[in-house]
Every structure is written in C-alpha cells, then in structure tokens.
C-alpha cells in the first residue's frame, strides 16, 4: 500500500530546539520509508503549524501525519481535530513526544536527546504505517433508570431524574422507603427532626408520575449493558391490598404473634401483621410471612376475620417484574457495625450497653410518649466502635459518629437537664460546614469530651450499672466510673445488599468493601461499569448532606449519558481476528468485565461492555484478539522502531507506560525537568496488561536490554484488576529468560500513581544501570525466546 506520511518537527519556541537538534531529526525523518513531507516549524500548535498540516493534506495528498512535539496528553486532541478538518480520520495522526520524553528530561545531554528524538519519531512513523481508521461506535440510549435502594440517596436521585423527565424504577428491599434516615431522631448540625424533613420527599417519590416504586422487592438479576440493562425484580407479597387497607389497625390488635421490631432496632416488639413505621410510605400494613403463624385460615386467620375492608389476601404470590433500564444508580447504603464483634464492650450481654441507633429510636419514641426503656442520668459514649480499628477489619473512619454522638449528647441534655454525659473519643472530627460550631455548642451546654478509648467494661450484677475504665490520654489519669448507660458509637459497613449488587453488576469494591468509584477525584459517582453510578453510603461512609449531594451528582451523570439519545463509545476496544480464533475460550475467563462470549467456536466482544484494558490479549494463545488503536502490530512496529539499527554496546530499556498513570507520570517527570536515563524509551499503551509475553520476548529478541512495565496502582486504575494478567505475563517471560540463561531481573513491574516522580526516576535508572552492568544479551541467547515460550507453555 502506498502511503504518504508527513512528519512535522516542532521547536516549541526553544523548549525542544534548545536541546534537540531539530534539523537533524527532520533530516532523519526524511530518510524513512513512505515519508513524503517533512517540516520543521517553530510552534506546531499555532495557527501556522495547523495550517501547514491542512494545506499539505489537501495539496500533497498526505494521508498520515506525525507530529514530533509535546505529549499527546497535551495536544493530542488538537491535532486529531486538525486532521479531521482536512478530511482524514482522527486516528491518522500520531504524536512523537520529543518534549516531555526527550528535550526536557535529557536537557543536559543534547546528543542523547537528539538521538532519542530521532528514534521516537521513527517509532511513531512505524506505528502509523499500518494504522487503520477508527470510527467510534454510536449507540442509542433511552430514558429509563433503575435506582436500587430507596434511602435518602435513592429517593433524591430518583426525584432529580423524574423531575428532569426520565423514567425511574425505584426498588426497595424493605416494605417502606426512607432508609436509615427514617429511623433517626434529629439531624446534625441543625437539629431538625429527621422524619419531618424526610417525609415530604418520601411522599413526593411515591406520588411522582415518573417514578415506579417497588417496595418489599429485590433485584433478582441484571443482564445486558448500558442502554440495555434487563432487570428482573421480585416483589414479595405483603398479603395486604394497599388500595383496600384503611390502616385501621384492627388486624394488628388481634394478631397473636410477637417478634422484635426492626424499625425500633429490636427494643420493642411488633406483630406479624404490622405497619412498618407510623411515617411509613407506602402507608400500608404488611404481613410478614416468616413470623405469621401460617397463612392458613386453619392455623390462625384472626386478622382476616378482623379486617372489615377485606384487604387481607393469604393467596398473594410473589410477583416477578421485568423492566428495561438504560442506566443504573446503586444506592444500597450501609449496615451498622455489629458491636458484638467487640466482645470486651459487652454489647448484647449487658442490658445497659446499647448502640447509637438504638438511642436514636429511644429518643424518637420517648418524644412521642412511648419510651422504649429508661435513659439513666450518667451516660457515656464510646467512639470509634468498629471504625478505625484493624482488629475488626475496618481501618477507615466512619465520618458521622463524632457528630451523631454530639447530637445525641445534646438531645439527652435537653431531655434530662441534670444528665452527666461524657464522650470518650480518640480524635474528634467535626469536618463539615457548621460542625465545629455544633461541637462547641455541645461543649457549652456541658457535654464532656474525654480523650481515650476504653479497654473494657463490666456490668455490676446488682444494680446493672456499667463500670468503665479509660485512660484520659491528655492527663494520663485512669478514670474508673460507673455509668447508667453506655452508648457505643458504631461505625458504618457496606450493607449486605451493597455486596450483593456489587457482585451482580460486577462493580469493583475498594479494600474497605465499599463500592469503588471510577476516579476518587474526578469521577466520584461513576463506576468501572459504563452506565452504572453510585450514590450515598454504598460508596463510603458519609453524612446526609454529602449523600444528597452525591445523589444529585449521580442523577446528573446519568442524565448526561441519556439526554442526547445516543452516546459515543470510547474507540479503544478489543476486537477478534476471526480467522485466527481457535475457540479455546481462555479470553472469556480472562475478561474482568465479562465482555467476551463464545459465538459457536469464535470469541465475540460486546463493545459497550469492553473497557479496552487488553487483559484478554495476553490470554490468547494465537493472538486472535487485538485492540483498536493499539494493535499488536502497532506495538511491535513501535518497538522495532526503537530497536532497529541498535549498535552493540548501546543500552535500550523499553518502558511500557499505561495511559492513565505511568505515561502521565513520565510527562510530569519531564515537565519537572528531572533527569533520568536516556536509555529508556516509553511505549504508550492503554494498560500494560495488553502487552503479551510474546511481545515482551520479541522485544528481547530484537535487542532490548531491559523492560520496565508501569501500570496504575489498583486504587486509581480506570480498569478492573489488570495487575493479575501483567504479573502472569512477567512470570512466563522470566521463566523463559531463565531457561535461556538470561538474567530474569531484566524485566520489572511497578505500579504507580501520577505523582511518584522520584520513584519512577529511581526505578528506571536502576533498571538501566543494571542492564548496563549485565551488558547486551548475546545474540545466540536471545535468538529463540518466542519458540521457548511455546515450550514453557506446553
């Protein structure tokens, strides 16, 4: 195929040309095959530079463009637009990064910088030769959203979406909506009553014409992808027809069964047929089939007899509902830490040791004239129970406990003016707006804050008071006192439902088991799965204001995708060379997001699901799977460009740099003008997991002296786990190297985040130095590495 490649060498107003001899680079480029135009221009990004490209494409018939200038992270989008303007596919331009990777880090060595710039340009030309046009696929998307969980996060997100004209399916496991907030007494830092501010929102959600509410329902399965999620919902029978039920309470009165009341955290009892809460929405009775005597008139049937409205129907069956959703918002919330897991505090054994949610209920019920139990006068709060504690596997701070303990202390002092309330804390965190003032208000009314974490507590068997010993770590005194009530400020854990939905939708979880956002700063409500968003405490512990803000953000992110009616997919996707596929199915298992399935004996990729990480490519024994824009051929061509013509005694280190972290890190190092070895040549890949053992060994065969593999640290990676495939590839490569008598330490892997400048420089230098010490790999040792890989595989 005849090609017309144009190469444009940029001076960057001296930034490049002061170090790199740009004329020499231009002359070198002229001698490359297929290059028909070479220009050396002061500022490629200027009007003049852009015009030169467009004119050459129009007048000289260029079909591929190389801009040897700065980082593609910096001006890549600009030059893609330029070539598009001239009628070329945006994939037809490639940047050789001779500023951040050559002129800047090697400013002290003009000769080396120039040589490196030449090779980087050559690698780009090589890569461009077989580059195919890439047209991003567009997909239709509708306006239906599934919101899982109807706590305050789910309600807020649903309302925002519904008000914007989107169709919402709001699914809640419990018989009423409102979540934990519906259980609370008041809210910090304003002390308004939780149910008073929540109830109107609950009513709005239930009545909104665009919200289809499914309470007492669970998600059975979710299949499909963005724009086409097929959701199965199971609605459990309540055995009461909400349309007929008048909420007269006759059924509850006659019901003979008593069980612990979930809404009151088990501090009170309820009947088997009951109203979940007096603020319940839907405001309808529920028959709990697990505690009912038998759903058969023979066994009991008292409620049916008592119901004058004939609302009770024992024959109700579970309903299975199928809906189609275009996007999903997961707002499955938290469970409180089970304080029984800290046995030294005696929760569950001592009647006067309670958790904070129980105190919330005590305060609510007492205010309504039906106290659940006595409060006592001398009360202690113990902070950080199940938070900031590695012994229970929760090293994180739950963020809300300092403030809710402060709130509850104030409410207690309000109810019982002579109450003596102490809060035993380790660090007090009043981080939010108005929180510090709130803390001060509590101190003003006499709540005592004592710095220390109690070791253990004992019940006095006679008067049931709790003896608590704690070191005041500021005075170093040991306080030993009896309390009427000890309140454990329990932390937050991801709810059972959160873990279930994470598995169902394959949303990655962070090490704290909460759902992992796509980026901790810039994509806080996105997930690694396209079209799936998270809000509220399912993502991490947070208070009500943050939850509501996040719910709004999740709704906005979902609207952003759906509003246009279609969306453009990232063009970097895996694809299959069907003629090479043997149908072994290894790629199906290797894909972390299940984007690959077998159509007969050939693997097929589901593009909307594919994240473009390339983990499948390493698993394929015949290289039948490939990645658009970063093809196997393209990566090989780049490597050849760097290694061809390498003379004996020269040292070359190939650095595979993932786009998100390592490549940007190297740009940062260059921008900071931190020097590192000019032996290192960076090859940009979306994720290093797309580099196969075969490609790595070929690089050694072609003369690479060492290989450095950089990849995002797991926590910030845009992809699901890529470290596993990389480590497996390196393992295979090392094995072959060992067998061939080559030092296996010539290849290393290091995870990075974009700020680890010194770490990058240090590690690359060390590897290069080590390779120099080992010397070039003798020709006879590196001749048959790929063949040996096949033997090792077998």
């Amino acid at each position: 195929m005849s090609q017309n490649i144009g190469v444009y060498v940029c001076h960057c107003g001296g930034n490049i040309s002061d170090t790199v001899n740009v004329d020499e680079v231009a002359k070198y480029a002229e001698n490359q095959d297929d290059v028909v135009v070479v220009r050396s221009i002061s500022h490629m990004c200027s009007e003049e530079g852009q015009k030169a490209i467009i004119d050459d494409i129009n007048e000289k018939g260029l079909d591929k463009i190389i801009v040897a200038a700065c980082s593609p992270q910096f001006h890549g989008p600009r030059f893609r637009k330029v070539v598009e303007k001239a009628g070329l596919n945006p994939a037809m331009v490639e940047m050789a990064n001779i500023r951040e990777q050559s002129a800047w880090p090697h400013f002290n060595n003009k000769k080396a910088a120039t040589e490196k710039a030449k090779l980087l340009t050559k690698a780009a030309v090589n890569n461009m030769r077989d580059m195919e046009p890439v047209v991003p696929e567009k997909m239709k998307i509708g306006k239906n959203v599934l919101v899982v969980g109807a706590g305050i996060a789910g309600i807020q997100a649903s309302l925002d979406l519904a008000d914007s004209g989107f169709n919402v399916y709001l699914v809640e496991k419990k018989p009423m909506i409102g979540g934990h907030m519906a259980q609370l007494s008041r809210t910090f830092p304003t002390n308004d009553c939780a149910s008073c501010i929540l109830s109107p929102k609950m009513a709005d959600a239930a009545e909104h014409p665009n919200i289809h509410l499914y309470t007492y329902s669970e998600i059975e399965s979710v299949e499909g992808t963005i724009g086409n999620f097929r959701v199965k919902i199971k609605r459990k029978p309540t055995y009461v027809d909400p349309k007929k039920c008048t909420a007269c309470n006759s059924c509850t009165e006659v019901c003979p069964t008593l069980v612990p009341d979930e809404n009151n955290e088990g501090l009170a009892l309820r009947k088997a047929i009951y109203l979940p809460s007096h603020i319940a929405i839907p405001h309808s009775y529920v028959l709990d089939e697990d505690s009912c005597l038998g759903l058969q008139p023979i066994a009991c049937g008292k409620c049916v007899e008592a119901c004058e409205a004939n609302a009770i129907d024992y024959e109700q069956k579970p309903k299975h509902i199928s809906v189609k959703a275009d996007t999903i918002i997961v707002a499955t919330g938290f469970d409180i830490f089970d304080a029984k897991r800290k046995p030294q505090y005696g929760y569950g054994r001592y009647e006067n040791v309670i958790n904070a949610l129980e105190l919330e209920r005590m305060i609510v019920e007492a205010a309504e004239g039906s106290p659940l139990r006595p409060f006592g006068k001398k009360v202690a709060f113990v902070q950080c129970v199940g938070s900031r504690d590695v012994t229970v596997g929760n090293p994180y701070c739950s963020r809300i406990c300092c403030m809710y303990a402060t709130k509850l202390s104030m409410l207690l002092k309000g109810m019982i003016p002579d109450a003596d309330v102490s809060v035993f804390y380790t660090d007090l965190r009043s981080f939010g707006k108005g929180y510090e003032e709130y803390y001060k208000r509590a101190q003003e009314i006499g709540v005592r804050y004592i710095r220390g974490r109690p070791g253990e507590m004992y019940e006095n068997p006679k008067n049931k008071k709790i003896n608590l010993k704690v070191e005041d770590t500021l005075t170093r005194d040991i306080l030993d006192d009896d309390y009427d009530l000890v309140v454990l400020s329990v932390g937050l854990e991801p709810s059972k439902g959160t873990k279930e939905i994470a598995q169902m939708l394959k949303i990655p979880q962070s090490s704290d088991r909460f759902l992992q956002e796509a980026h901790p700063k810039f994509k806080p409500v996105d997930t690694a799965i396209d079209g799936v968003f998270i809000a509220g405490t399912a993502q991490g512990p947070k208070d009500i204001p943050d939850t509501v803000a996040q719910a709004g953000a999740a709704a906005a992110r979902a609207i952003r995708l759906m509003n246009k009616g279609e969306f453009e997919m990232d063009p970097v996707k895996a694809f299959v060379h069907e003629e090479l596929c043997t149908g072994c199915g290894d790629c199906v298992d290797a894909c972390p997001v299940s984007a690959i399935s077998m159509a007969g004996s050939i693997a097929t990729i589901n593009p909307p699901v594919c994240k473009g990480c390339g983990s499948c490519i390493s698993s394929c024994p015949t290289e039948a799977i490939d990645l658009k824009l970063f093809t196997n051929k393209g990566v090989r061509d780049k490597i050849s460009g760097i290694l061809e013509g390498k003379k004996s005694g020269e040292n070359r280190v190939i650095v595979f740099a993932d786009d998100m972290c390592t490549y940007r890190l190297a740009d940062g190092v260059g921008t900071a003008k931190m020097e590192y070895t000019s032996d290192a040549y960076i090859v940009r890949v979306p994720s290093s997991s797309r580099v196969t053992p075969r490609i790595l060994l070929e690089a050694f065969e072609k003369g690479a002296d060492a290989i450095f593999i950089g990849e995002c640290e797991k926590a910030v990676s845009p992809y699901p786990d890529t470290h596993g495939p990389i480590e497996m590839s390196i393992f295979a490569v090392k094995k072959v190297l060992e067998k061939a008598g080559i030092e296996p330490d010539r290849i290393i892997f290091s995870p990075f985040v974009t700020v680890m400048f010194k770490g990058f420089v240090g590690k690359v230098n060390k590897l290069a130095e080590m390779a120099r010490k080992h010397g070039n790999i003798p020709e006879e040792k590196r001749r048959n590495l790929v063949k040996m890989l096949e033997e090792v595989d077998r």
């Binding site: 030294q344 012994t391 040991i478």
Partner: protein, 134 residues
C-alpha cells in the same frame, strides 16, 4: 510559682533502634489509650502502656528507667485490642533488651542456693539467664 518547662533534647536514634528491634511501626500509634485499660498490670505501673509508646515516639530514653516496662507480662491483651495492630508486647521487650544489653547487673547462678533454685519458677530462671545471651 512559675512552672518551668524543660525542653529535653530528644533522641530520634532511640525511636529508630526500638522500631528495628521490635519490628513494629511505633510511629503508627494514635495514642487512643485502649492498651492502658486493657492491661492487667496498669495499676502497678509508674507510667501507662500508652505513655511508654508515646515516650518512645518522641525519642525519650527516660522510658528505660520506668518500672512499667518490667511489669509487662507479655499477656498480649493490648496487642490483640490495638486498633492500629501494633504489637506492644514486642515493643516492651525491645525496651527491656536495651537495658539488658548494657549488662548493668546479672544473676550469678552459682550463688543461688540449690533449694531456692528448685523452688524458683522456671520462667524466672529463664528470664534471668537471658541476660547472659542478650
């Protein structure tokens, strides 16, 4: 009376040495004090277990003169409960070793009466003999 605050020169080397000997990240301690009221010996100690760690953190070698480090029975209750997962027992052992290695005094086993020797708990003997080998 005006209180005079004495600024002592702290010894960072002491912290590093104790960290190395114990294998524990002593700077990780957040001084919550849970160890103090978990410890069965606290009431007989001159300084609390949390104070021991704090003094090591600031590099105060005076901690070696405390009786507390000798009263630690290595029962590991503090270690089990530490929310930062620090092994305090290893740290007190490292502190004891630093004094022991100075060989200030030692027990001459030959000078102990045979009858007394038989009555002594084995652990006491082992602890005493350790001084010869450390």
């Amino acid at each position: 009376m005006t209180a005079v605050i004495k600024v002592k020169k702290k010894n960072r080397e002491f912290l590093l040495k104790t960290e190395e000997m114990s294998g524990e990240h002593i700077t990780m301690c957040e001084q919550c004090g849970i160890c103090t009221t978990s410890c069965p010996m606290t009431e007989d100690m001159d300084i609390s277990p949390a104070s021991i760690i704090h003094l090591v953190q600031i590099g105060d070698e005076g901690v070696l003169d405390s009786t507390a480090i000798w009263l630690c029975a290595s029962c590991y209750t503090c270690t089990v409960r530490c929310p930062r997962g620090i092994d305090l027992s290893a740290i007190t052992e490292a502190l004891r070793q630093q004094t022991l290695r100075k060989s200030i005094d030692y027990i001459d086993i030959n000078s102990i009466d045979r009858k007394e020797l038989e009555e002594l708990p084995a652990i006491a003997l082992v602890s005493a003999l350790r001084k010869y080998t450390s």
